[in-house]
Symmetry: C2
Subunit: 223 residues, 2 copies
């Protein structure tokens, strides 16, 4: 698991709960665990969270990537490429990366814009930077609690998308999404360029968040 935020914590906790041995990777695990002030009042510090999840090690990006059979990119979109560089190309080669990141740019306030869009995507940037990695973009269109428990929203009757160049990796990820979390409706959009579609959906998602007042939302593709 690359990334110590809510997404990384939520997925790692779920994987530990169902008997896997996740390791969370951080840019600087010692410093990250030593932070005592909450960034937001409702979000625990990493140290507070770790005290309740002691079985999940918090390591460097490199150690977490070396440990993982499968990798999850749960870093901030703006930091994803540098996190993967720190993880080290040799620790990534040949592995599946579930890429949850979104290229959100909050520098102009809320709602955010995207720092890459239209004729490129963050998923493609990652795939180009690490050609030996099997990037599968998914889960980036829902909030963390729904990623690991789609059934918590109207019984799970809604849709998740997949983008990636490696058919075997997409098949594997689909099996995990169903088995680990209970996703039922998973649509394979095509190669990694289709990540443009799901990343460009985020500007609609953030406005639905604004209009509905809760991140507990998703779309069901009706067809």
């Amino acid at each position: 698991m690359l990334g110590t935020g809510t997404v990384g914590r939520t997925i790692a906790a779920k994987l530990a709960e169902i008997g896997h041995g996740p390791v969370i990777g951080s840019r600087d695990p010692v410093a990250a665990l030593a932070v005592t002030e909450r960034a937001r009042p409702d979000v625990e510090t990493l140290g507070e969270w770790h005290a309740q999840n002691e079985a999940i090690p918090v390591a460097t990006f490199s150690d977490a990537a070396a440990h993982g059979e499968a990798l999850v990119n749960a870093t901030n979109g703006a930091g994803s490429l540098s996190a993967l560089e720190l993880a080290g190309a040799a620790n990534l080669a040949g592995k599946v990366l579930i890429d949850i990141s979104n290229p959100l740019d909050f520098s102009k306030g809320f709602p955010p814009t995207l720092f890459v869009a239209n004729d490129d995507s963050l998923g493609e940037q990652i795939q180009r930077a690490f050609p030996a990695l099997k990037v599968v973009k998914t889960l980036n269109t829902v909030t963390a609690s729904i990623m690991v428990d789609p059934g918590s929203l109207t019984g799970g009757d809604h849709t998740l998308f997949l983008s990636g160049d490696d058919p075997g990796a997409k098949e594997q990820v689909t099996t995990w999404l169903r088995g680990w979390f209970g996703w039922r409706d998973v649509i394979d959009l095509g190669d990694i360029t289709t990540a443009r579609g799901v990343e460009m959906y985020l500007p609609l998602w953030v406005r639905l968040l604004g209009a509905l007042g809760s991140p507990k939302l998703n779309v069901r593709v009706v067809r």
Copy 2:
């Protein structure tokens, strides 16, 4: 009705069917009606269509706009601003414009990119260019046949979005969408800047079209 394509024809035919008196506006109605070659084998020429819909006049943009109590922008996104200029600001002032256009750029092939996105939108460009017009962006997220008959897709259990600066215009349009076409789930996203969200959804829509093989699709917002 501004625009003689499938969207304009489909909505005009539906409005005529339910007893309204739509007029379709074209850049050059005489030339448009004289075209004898189909652009696509499965799409009738405007003349063929008009022969079956004689009660619906095909006029200039300006005459159509002068005629309409309410206006619909069903032009190609790339031609929308010039169509509205030809319609004439005086014919637009104070009226509601249902803006269905999408800023699709096919110059690099399929799937298209967007010629405006991220920190602006076509809906906003239109609103800025014609401040006395009450622009309500909607219907741009579904194919023409579903716009006028949402019930034709799984009984109508899916969602439409609204964006616009004028609350009264949005209320009026919502009443029309329900009464004319039978839309049930209409979400008001907020002011016209939220058009960025629905326009940036199109890159996902075109990839869903590719993955599912049919434009008869929509999303239901599950919350």
